[in-house]
């Protein structure tokens, strides 16, 4: 497809869209679907058909609107009236109200901080376009970044634009994307690969799933731009098998992109060839680590290997390979369209742009939000997130999943950026934020994550394979009220040992949840050990009053 054809297609499609007096957008992402979104969408269609108004009112199944707590969500355009918790029974009433004033009992304030305080880059199309429609994506200026890159820029210029943007990897590590791209671009190899890491394993993180479900073409475009910049002609999306809807939509989008000529050979009449294949994960957390991920794509057990050599020089089948996370690639089309400088103007000095966070746990507005870097945790949790439900007290925020830590209330006014989070013993991670109140026991939370790491350890290196079960055993002793101070000392030693000697990130960071809870909530550990009580009332003690002298079961 060439630019003129693209403009024509966009023009035609947007005219068709504007010919409807009203457009009803129903969220069709996994969250709202689970709350009955599909039933609401078909109820709208049936009702409109019955009333013979199919020419006047359109129903669209769009990507994630963010506020999953209020699902199924509906937004009526052009008025942009937002409705929450819509059921098929409400459909007739909403249609009746279209030419009058909105249905008050269902409508949500579009000025509420959840909507007004977001800055959307990666999620700019979510809730607005239909994920299964290429035309919709094109009307939203999709693929124009790719066309600009391959027809007007050299690969070096594309890399420079990324460097200028200051984008850092959104998968957790925060490595500068421009630097990674230029390393792969400079690497020697007969063949090069681009890999999209969509193995979103962190429990509590679902932004990658949502981006793929809501805007799959964005990832295809991002990968194609990356491939052009580094000189690759083939790409893989390594996607979790646990996300069936994301798989289905991405497959469909790849087919559409092929047909339209955005994938394949001689893309847009240039010399650039690029194709994408999906590889399904099979439920191994460690495959989010890049060398393990490559082993899995090659059909082997997903076990990491020492680095260097880095994938940028020695990747898939020994060829230079660029591995980027979904959200990182999701930023790329917009950066190419609006320029690196525009992107760098958002955020802070060390962390540019925006970050998508998944809000879950004890928080009113659970869902997905995209905010500029540098915003404070308090703004995210209490303004956008709406605070703690039922008047509970904020106790800690868990970020970064099993590799991250728990941040206590005293740091609520800290800005969110890579450096600040690391300073308090947590990490940005992929963006899961789980809010905990007084009803959570921090020792139990640490035990939960250690159980996770213990089961997910691939078994290749001894510190992780043997160390995580030992740490879990001690944590279990503490939550059973059977531990002594000596156990706590051993636990601290083990944390250092596993952290410093493990082969890959899984083991190296597995102690973070324990270390951060010990740092900020040591008194809870002590209460379990000395008084034999759990301040949060979560742990069910085995001990029934008699003194057990430090002997493990």
């Amino acid at each position: 497809m060439i630019p003129d054809e693209l403009n024509e297609m966009a023009e035609e499609h947007s005219q068709k869209q504007n010919s409807f007096a009203h457009r009803i957008h129903v969220c069709a992402a996994a969250g709202c679907r689970s709350s009955g979104g599909e039933k609401v969408a078909s109820a709208f269609e049936d009702e409109i058909k019955e009333r013979g108004q199919t020419e006047k009112i359109a129903v669209k199944r769009t990507g994630c609107m963010g506020l999953c707590a209020e699902g199924p969500m509906v937004i009526v355009y052009p008025d942009e009236t937002i409705y929450g918790k819509v059921s098929p029974a409400d459909v007739a009433e909403i249609i009746d109200s279209l030419d009058g004033s909105p249905v008050e009992r269902l409508s949500l304030d579009s000025e509420m901080p959840f909507f007004s305080e977001q800055t959307q880059v990666v999620l700019e199309n979510a809730g607005r376009t239909e994920p299964e429609s290429l035309e919709d994506y094109i009307v939203a200026e999709g693929y124009s970044g790719l066309i600009t890159a391959i027809t007007e820029m050299t690969p070096d210029e594309v890399v420079n634009e990324m460097t200028k943007s200051g984008l850092r990897g959104r998968g957790g590590g925060g490595f500068p994307t421009g630097l990674k791209w230029s390393t792969v671009a400079k690497a020697d190899g007969d063949k090069k690969y681009v890999v999209c890491n969509a193995d979103e394993g962190d429990p509590g993180a679902f932004m990658d799933r949502s981006v793929l479900e809501s805007d799959p073409h964005r990832i295809i475009e991002g990968m194609a731009i990356a491939a052009y910049a580094v000189g690759a002609d083939h790409g893989y999306v390594y996607l979790r098998a646990e996300y069936p809807l994301a798989i289905e939509r991405l497959k469909k989008a790849i087919r559409q992109a092929k047909r339209a000529g955005f994938l394949g050979t001689e893309i847009c009449d240039t010399q650039f060839d690029f194709s994408i294949e999906i590889r399904l994960g099979a439920g191994a957390f460690v495959c989010g680590e890049e060398t393990a991920l490559m082993a899995s794509i090659e059909g082997r057990r997903g076990q990491p290997r020492p680095r260097p050599p880095y994938p940028a020089n020695y990747g898939l089948w020994g060829f230079p390979t660029l591995i980027n996370n979904v959200e990182t690639l999701g930023n790329v089309p917009t950066i190419l369209r609006k320029g690196g400088e525009w992107f760098a103007s958002i955020g802070t000095d060390d962390s540019k742009g925006t970050k998508v966070f998944a809000l879950a746990g004890r928080i009113v507005n659970t869902g997905l939000v995209e905010v500029p870097m540098g915003i404070t945790l308090r703004e995210i949790i209490f303004d956008i997130g709406g605070g703690i439900p039922g008047g509970g007290n904020f106790k800690a925020l868990q970020t970064g999943g099993p590799s991250g830590g728990c941040i206590p209330a005293q740091y609520l006014d800290m800005p969110v950026d890579y450096g600040s989070l690391a300073k308090v013993g947590s990490i940005m991670g992929s963006g899961g934020m789980i809010v905990m109140d007084d009803s959570s026991c921090m020792v139990d939370v640490a035990k939960y994550f250690m159980d996770f790491c213990r089961t997910e350890s691939c078994g290749k290196c001894i510190p992780c394979r043997a160390g995580t079960p030992q740490m879990h055993k001690i944590l279990t002793k503490i939550t059973n009220g059977e531990a002594t101070h000596r156990d706590l000392d051993i636990l601290k030693d083990l944390c250092d040992l596993v952290e410093n000697t493990s082969l890959c990130g899984l083991g190296q960071t597995s102690a973070n949840p324990v270390k951060s809870t010990l740092k900020y909530f040591e008194e809870e550990y002590i209460a379990h050990i000395e008084q034999g009580e759990c301040p949060a009332g979560v742990c069910k003690f085995k001990r029934t009053g008699e003194v057990i002298n430090g002997c493990s079961s």
Binding site: A205, F206, Y243, G281, A284
Partner: protein
């Protein structure tokens, strides 16, 4: 690359799907995980004879196929029950009571995580995170995600599977 080195273990039509998956990837060794997904989609689990068949056709040692099949949690070597109830044990679900749901099911039906009821009616499985954190605790009933579940909700659904005869 060998073309059809061995015949399928039986004349079950589902083997055609497996053959198609292998052919699509040119019988390349790197397709192993993709092919195992195809086998599990078609048969519900990975039988020994299926593993051997795949090993033969992709010219891989059976030990490697077995190694891969057992490394990944998603693959199961045992047949699943007629219905599957997957409890999400992600962080958000955990702090909102996924553990209680599992305990209640275990108490009520005597089926623990990873087990199948004796009559083969249902399997209880756990997932690391199904990505429905905003609806925690989430449970997946036969592929359909349901949010905000209580132990009572889950027990009710399982009892419906049993036809209310428990």
């Amino acid at each position: 690359m060998p073309l059809k080195k061995t015949q399928p273990p039986s004349d079950d039509k589902r083997w055609k799907l497996i053959n198609a998956a292998m052919r699509r990837h040119g019988y390349h060794r790197s397709a192993l995980i993709e092919v195992l997904h195809a086998v599990q989609d078609a048969f519900g689990f990975l039988e020994d004879e299926a593993l051997e068949y795949v090993a033969d056709n992709l010219t891989l040692p059976p030990s490697m196929v077995y190694g891969v099949a057992t490394f990944y949690h998603f693959f199961t070597l045992k047949p699943k029950g007629e219905h599957a109830c997957v409890i999400c044990t992600g962080t958000a679900c955990y702090i909102k009571g996924a553990g209680d749901i599992i305990d209640e099911i275990q108490d009520k039906f005597g089926v623990g995580p990873g087990e199948t009821s004796q009559d083969g009616k249902f399997s209880l499985l756990t997932a690391r995170c199904v990505g429905a954190c905003s609806l925690a605790p989430a449970v997946v009933y036969d592929g359909e995600v349901a949010g905000h579940q209580t132990p009572e909700d889950v027990i009710k659904t399982i009892q419906e599977w049993f036809g209310n005869d428990t």
